[in-house]
Symmetry: C2
Subunit: 256 residues, 2 copies
């Protein structure tokens, strides 16, 4: 029941579900699972009867720095022991089975887990062995099954990938990143006056060089340029660059 170094238990940052790998086969995969857990903010790992014993240095090597999770992993001889102190257990299950059980998407499961944990209950997420997945006895211990919506023609999922998707959805449930932003490099999105100022500069130079000399066509050409530069957000830094481009192009005029 103790981690590799028998040290202090992990201090949970926030209550989060415990990832339980049931009879995992390859230590590399256990390490990759720990890495995926860290990516999504899942920090508690239990291993049920890992095939090759525990600890395995190969797990640490494939964890890319998620050592803390492996160091604190609990080992249990059977699933009953690994779930004994939990209140709710969800089992990932790629294939439909002959069972009567609630079935959740990864996103649905994450939302339910957040809600359950906020009530002070402890939750576990079961992942089966690489080859066969969870067996019927394992699944009978689960309150609900989690099935990821994925291509039914190709649903064979690597163990660490299965953990990654659940960890990702766990993180997303409380994430508020807007789906579309503009990343700016120490600069600001230009306002319309700054954009107009650049367009005036451009048009002045285009008048000077004669590009807009066709009077009937001039309003339409100016409008097209305005349309082009109004297509999305432009930053102040980009406008400075564009001012420079126009100035430099115009200054060389007649010298060629």
């Amino acid at each position: 029941m103790t981690g590799r170094d028998g040290g202090a238990p992990l201090v949970p940052i926030d209550p989060s579900p415990i990832v339980i790998l049931v009879r995992p086969q390859l230590a590399e995969n256990i390490g990759a699972c720990a890495r995926a857990m860290a990516n999504g903010g899942l920090f508690h790992l239990r291993l049920v009867a890992p095939r090759d014993g525990w600890p395995q240095e190969r797990a640490w090597r494939s964890a890319s720095g998620a050592d803390r999770i492996l160091d604190a992993a609990q080992i249990h001889p059977d699933l009953a022991g690994a779930t004994a102190d939990l209140h709710r257990v969800f089992a990932t299950c790629p294939r439909p089975r002959q069972v009567i059980k609630p079935v959740l998407t990864a996103r649905g499961a994450s939302a339910e887990l957040h809600a359950i944990l906020r009530r002070g209950l402890r939750c576990g997420l079961l992942f089966g062995p690489e080859r066969a997945g969870l067996d019927s006895e394992d699944m009978a211990r689960a309150d609900a099954l989690i099935r990821y919506p994925l291509n039914p023609e190709f649903s064979s999922l690597n163990l660490a990938q299965a953990v990654m998707i659940m960890a990702y959805e766990w993180w997303l449930t409380t994430d508020e990143t807007p789906p579309h932003t503009l990343m700016t490099n120490a600069t600001e999105v230009a306002d319309k006056a700054e954009l107009d100022n650049f367009l005036s500069h451009l048009i002045r130079e285009l008048d000077a060089c004669g590009f807009l000399r066709n009077a009937p066509k001039r309003p339409g050409m100016v409008r097209n340029l305005r349309h082009f530069f109004a297509r999305g957000e432009v930053t102040q830094q980009e406008l400075r660059t564009l001012h420079g481009v126009v100035t430099e192009l115009a200054s060389g005029r007649g010298t060629r």
Copy 2:
């Protein structure tokens, strides 16, 4: 520009973005990416200057059957060639860079890709090399960056995991699986009359054995049983089992 066997191009099932692995290092990772692509319904792969050349049998061994994607993979010496026939290019980019660029979440990017592809345009998704990720020149070719919302304290993502998350979101954008259902095994959710029928059976036997003999407490005890069995959906098969349990328990009464 041709696949391993120089054969016919993949027939696209639906328009989908092209996954472009830029200077990938390990063939195993390329295979794992193909597997993740198949999981999420992405079928078009291009490789820009794979470090160890192409084809590599190790890629096929780690693809778990996603051979069709590897067979049809296009190889390009540089990113300009790999993106030449595309109209929009999004680059996955875990770390903030000194660039001015729209930034999308994986979910936001997937929604935009679906919308762009429906207009008949061709799109690419760039993933950088395992160690360093995309460089500044690569990113300058992208219309937008994709940054997954993940634990900022541990954002180092395996290449195939990065492809998996994007493939998963690609699949989810058009998926309509309800977040919570009840999986039933050739049986139906019982209606309230069937549940009442079972409760009448149970209460009749509990009256017979004297469990409910305390008259003042009887209504509350019956109500508690009703509450318990009304907690969620019960199937007709489960009710048949429960009828059998009550009948068998009652039939043994007095024989011990």
